[in-house]
């Protein structure tokens, strides 16, 4: 994974980059692949030793979690999603990745990156796996009496920011008969927020988005376009910088404890007689942290300084409040002609395919450009909403052979605590993808 969860490509690690296993799975059909994972029959992946071979990014920061599920070495894996760190690797590794409502799974034990955004989530081969896992991990409110010793809130959940969601799988995930697909999403209103239709969206992604709408309609859902009156493109655009301001500020604060005295590797600098303690801290931190982490700590320190707090941090907090409000309003009444509500919304997880991070065609990576990969995921993170990324462009078919095939993920997200709804929609979409692509390849 990327160090402290900071990165979108899986390249910011002490141990080098993470490899996207998808291109190495060419010989297995998607349906067989899922089948084999669910049977525990692990598909073997041989990455080989060819240094010149192009390596695709698995997406980050939960790169290893996604890759391990994708290549079949684990049936589910956990990750944290701060601005898209589960959904992006899920999309690029061709698996399902879910970020529940902020606080739905306890952060107790999670090394913090940006506390107000960090959300524990699940990566798995199917919505069923993810749903069952969520049911086990979600915070459950305990009715038990106060433990005197602790004298604290939420004794069973050691996380003050916990939120409590209902069970998500009560007979939801059975294999459907083919003729039942049309009934799966009866009555569900799926919104397509116009504000997320941005210029940077690649053609294959745009096609996949449209096909996904069609598939949801086939499942019985109604599609409504959520107009820019509800969710403004300006706010969506500003979400990305707002996200980086807030996450860097919190990261700088959360990482202050790694000073080499208690936490973090200790590096002894050449002794200087003056201000020895400060120089020791500084040296330890410049030696111990990777470049990206240092960049973000410095940015975070800057935006919290007294001369920037009001312009930067407070500005970002205002945008966060605005996007949260707009989402809420859209879900309440953003449906057709502003009359009905929206149950879930559908947008792409990421605008393009994974970049090549190593090999003969490897491109130099610019840190700020890499931020663009998060543009579709961070508005949802800022609002703390549950979201699930579903693979919609399978490994099968002819496109795989001609080299320009790219994995594509679609995001389905809903209002707070709507895990059950978004899993229902994601399950239907994923089942349709598997059914249709499976039948077309056979």
């Amino acid at each position: 994974m990327d160090e402290f969860g900071m990165g979108s490509l899986g390249t910011h690690s002490n141990n080098g980059y993470t490899v996207n296993p998808l291109p190495f799975l060419k010989d297995i059909s998607f349906k067989d692949y899922i089948q084999r994972i669910q049977d525990g029959n692990v598909p073997l992946v041989n990455i080989g030793t060819d240094q010149s071979r192009n390596v695709l990014s698995p997406g980050g920061s939960s790169s290893g979690s996604a890759a391990s599920v994708s290549m079949g070495s684990s049936i589910i894996s956990l990750g944290t999603d701060t601005g898209g760190s589960i959904r992006l690797p899920a999309a690029w590794c061709g698996i399902v990745g879910m970020k529940p409502t902020y606080g739905a799974i306890s952060r107790d034990g999670v090394v913090s990156y940006a506390s107000s955004l960090d959300t524990v989530g699940i990566l798995g081969p199917s919505t069923t796996c993810v749903g069952y896992t969520l049911d086990i991990l979600r915070n459950v409110k305990s009715e038990s009496t106060v433990e005197e010793e602790m004298d604290c809130f939420h004794h069973t959940v050691k996380d003050s920011t916990a939120c409590f969601i209902d069970s998500v799988c009560q007979g939801e995930f059975k294999d459907e008969d083919e003729d039942e697909y049309g009934q799966l999403l009866n009555g569900m209103n799926v919104g397509i927020p116009a504000a997320f239709s941005v210029d940077g969206c690649s053609l294959p992604v745009r096609d996949a988005w449209e096909r996904s709408m069609e598939r949801l309609i086939q499942c019985g859902a109604t599609i409504s376009v959520v107009s820019e009156d509800y969710i403004s493109p300006e706010t969506v655009k500003l979400s990305l910088p707002a996200y980086y301001v807030i996450s860097c500020a919190e990261a700088g604060s959360n990482l202050a404890r790694y000073d080499g005295l208690r936490y973090g590797s200790f590096y002894a600098p050449t002794p200087s007689p003056n201000r020895r303690r400060e120089s020791q801290f500084a040296y330890t931190r410049s030696m111990g942290f990777g470049r990206e982490v240092q960049r973000r700590i410095l940015a975070g320190t800057a935006v919290l300084s007294s001369d920037r707090f009001h312009t930067h941090y407070e500005g970002a907090a205002n945008i966060r409040a605005a996007i949260t409000k707009q989402f809420q309003h859209a879900f309440e009444c953003g449906g057709h002609h502003g009359t009905g509500g929206i149950d879930v919304m559908l947008i792409p997880t990421v605008l393009s395919g994974p970049p090549i991070v190593a090999g003969k065609d490897a491109q130099p990576l610019d840190s700020t450009e890499a931020f663009q990969n998060d543009v579709m995921t961070v508005p949802i993170s800022l609002a703390g909403l549950p979201s699930i990324s579903v693979p919609v462009n399978t490994l099968d078919g002819n496109s795989k052979e001609n080299g320009d095939w790219q994995p594509i993920g679609m995001q389905i997200f809903g209002p707070r605590k709507s895990e059950r709804q978004i899993l229902r929609a994601a399950h239907a979409l994923h089942s349709m993808v598997m059914k249709q692509d499976g039948s077309s390849s056979s």
């Binding site: 107790d108 604290c152 939420h154 003050s160 604060s253 936490y263 303690r277 707090f309």
Partner: protein, 650 residues
């Protein structure tokens, strides 16, 4: 222990004048700044300059006055830390060995999260209400960043913009410094009014031109985390610092007073009043010497009005100062003196700063804003950093904690008012007035009894036991007489015994006792309210004499910690003889004793011998009765017997 190495602080000796002479006079009310012949009056806060003097008198011109703001950090008396289940020193499982009582969260272990302690919030709410603050139904936590090894997170969780409570006030009793100690061997006998060395506050409103009470505004009260403790160990020219995280994460309330304090003794009054109030509430143990109550001062001096324009360059131009509106025109830049641990240090550092700043204002180089610390050895303040070196704390909302809402979950009651009705006790000043008005006891005794809630309860229990006992024996005694008697026995005799035995344990270290260390821990008494009540009832119905009762109390305190006083009295034969016939019989026995033949003859001679011989017989009779004879009744009996023996002599 976690260690780190650091070069020792270099202390810049910035002061040009020799100021050590200030503290040759620390026991006097004033001391002089040599260069300008300045003196500071600790009661009025005025810095004056000596303009002329001869052998008999001196003339002083008042030049400046001190203006003081106080911030107090009080460690709340709760069993666990503010955000973790780690034990505090008020928890039975607390171990004092360094770093043995810190939980993972207290040392900022990655992955641990804060969980707010309810009792911390409740104690803070009780304290803030007693300080007349407006309690905020919603407050928020924020992170204050700075880097120091004893701050495990690299930030302190505090409440900056949305504190728990705002706008309060404290009615302070004026502080009177403890009297000078006389030479060791000649400790004057305690008078009844002045039993308590630490009652160094005015007990009588009329005997001074300063009124007993004054009021100071409170700006805010906020909840925050305490840090660890750093100890410096020097050897071989280098200094190592040892850090103990046992204290890290303990609950503090920071109480910020408005700069409405104008003299060193007023500053001491604020702290001592607050200390007894929090102790009384039971929300803080108030032990300044253990760091449970710590104090930061902001001191500045201001030219006495009319003289403002002479000192223009010294003006406080800090527009960010939230207290700008409270500050008088022409005031100098404020200097913060941090971490004062006793009333003495508060008084001395205020005085030192007032004189130092006045001196610099006079010589045309007024002091700048800076942070200083007090060195108790030299009695001076020492600069730590100036304003240019000020830290940018980078305040940020604490993302790991939701806003603090005072709801049922936290308070355990439906409303804040309900919580206060159930948990806020009668406040000390109300209790003092009640005891004085309803029970008729003296202000001095009332002050002692109300220093601790358990002592009030003890007093009230003893009074009702006494009333009950007397009713049982069909004796009617005025209730105020009973209350006064109980108060006297409690404040004078029982507390003296308790104090004595504590001193024996502690040795003769009395340094802190003047700072108000509480002797009055009811748990330390070997005599409970029931036994004291019974004892006083025996005195009031004349079953025993006062002298006998004192002996009884001593036995009850030291030897027999179980028996009722009446049983002990009977076992020892201590019982007042009030029956006239019995008394007469004893008198006759002594008078007609052959050994006293000569004395009786002398008495019969009358004149000057009468008084002398009566005295002689009284002593003999008292001895004969084993000390049990009721003195006045015995005197009557003796007179009667002597009149019979030698009629017409008197």
């Amino acid at each position: 222990m976690i260690r780190f190495v650091c070069s020792s602080l270099t202390i810049k000796k910035r002061l040009s004048t020799n100021k050590s002479s200030y503290f040759n006079h620390i026991r006097k009310k004033t001391s002089s700044a040599t260069e300008y012949n300045l003196v500071y009056n600790r009661d009025s806060g005025i810095v004056s300059k000596l303009i002329s003097h001869d052998d008999t008198s001196a003339q002083w011109k008042p030049l400046f006055r001190s203006v003081i703001g106080i911030e107090i950090h009080a460690q709340l008396k709760v069993p666990t830390k503010l955000f973790s289940s780690g034990p505090t020193k008020h928890h039975s499982s607390y171990k004092s060995e360094a770093n043995s009582s810190a939980s993972l969260h207290d040392i900022a272990y990655p992955g641990t999260l804060p969980l707010l302690s309810r009792s911390s919030v409740r104690n803070a709410v009780i304290s803030a209400t007693a300080l007349n603050c407006t309690i905020q139904e919603t407050s928020r936590f924020e992170r204050k960043h700075y880097n120091y090894p004893d701050l495990p997170f690299g930030y302190q969780v505090t409440q900056q913009r949305w504190p728990l409570a705002k706008e309060g006030r404290l009615i302070c009793r004026r502080y009177i410094p403890p009297p000078l100690k006389k030479s060791k061997g000649k400790r004057s006998r305690r008078t009844k009014e002045k039993m308590d060395d630490s009652s160094s506050i005015i007990t009588n409103a009329t005997n001074d031109d300063l009124s007993t009470f004054f009021e100071v505004g409170i700006d805010r009260i906020q909840l925050e985390q305490d840090t660890g403790k750093t100890t410096a160990v020097s050897s071989d020219g280098s200094t190592r610092y040892l850090i103990d995280f046992n204290r890290a994460g303990s609950t503090l309330i920071e109480i910020v007073f408005k700069p409405q304090i104008y003299a060193a003794h007023e500053a001491a009054s604020v702290v001592s009043t607050l200390q007894s109030l929090l102790r009384y509430l039971g929300t803080c143990d108030g032990k300044m010497e253990e760091g449970s109550l710590r104090c930061d001062l902001n001191v500045s001096v201001c030219p006495i009005s009319g003289d403002v324009d002479n000192y223009v360059s010294g003006r406080d131009d800090d527009i960010d100062n939230p207290f700008h509106a409270y500050l008088p025109k022409g005031i100098g830049q404020r200097v913060e003196v941090k971490n004062l641990n006793s009333l003495k240090q508060i008084i001395h550092s205020t005085e030192y700063e007032a004189l130092r700043q006045s001196t610099f204002m006079l010589n045309g180089h007024p002091t700048k804003r800076e942070t200083r610390t007090f060195d108790p050895k030299s009695g001076r303040t020492i600069k730590i950093r100036d304003k240019d070196g000020a830290v940018d704390y980078r305040f940020m909302p604490e993302p790991d904690l939701p806003p603090l809402r005072l709801d049922k979950h936290i308070l355990g009651t439906n409303t804040l008012q309900e919580f206060l009705d159930e948990n806020l006790p009668e406040l000390p000043e109300q209790a003092i007035r009640r005891l004085m008005n309803n029970n008729g006891i003296s202000e001095a005794s009332a002050l002692i009894i109300t220093s601790d809630r358990s002592l009030i309860k003890f007093f009230e229990d003893a009074v009702s036991t006494c009333i009950h006992e007397l009713e049982q024996r069909d004796k009617v005694v005025d209730q105020k007489v009973i209350s006064t008697a109980i108060a006297n026995w409690l404040c004078n005799d029982l507390l003296a015994l308790s104090k004595e035995s504590i001193e024996k344990e502690k040795g003769s270290n009395r340094e802190h006792d003047n700072e108000g260390n509480s002797y009055y821990l009811v748990e330390n008494f070997n005599v409970d309210a029931l036994r004291l009540g019974c004892l006083v009832s025996l005195v009031l119905d004349q079953t025993v004499s006062t002298t006998q009762a004192k002996k009884l109390l001593s036995v009850m305190y030291h030897k027999d910690k179980e028996s009722l006083p009446l049983d002990i009295a009977e076992r020892n034969g201590w019982r007042l003889i009030t029956d006239m016939e019995t008394l007469k019989f004893i008198c006759q026995k002594v008078i007609f004793d052959a050994k006293n033949e000569k004395q009786l003859q002398q008495y019969k001679m009358g004149g000057k011998h009468v008084q002398k011989m009566t005295k002689y017989f009284t002593g003999k009779i008292m001895a004969e009765s084993g000390g049990n004879a009721h003195p006045e009744l015995m005197a009557n009996a003796l007179r009667e017997v002597l009149d019979e023996v030698a009629p017409g002599v008197v």
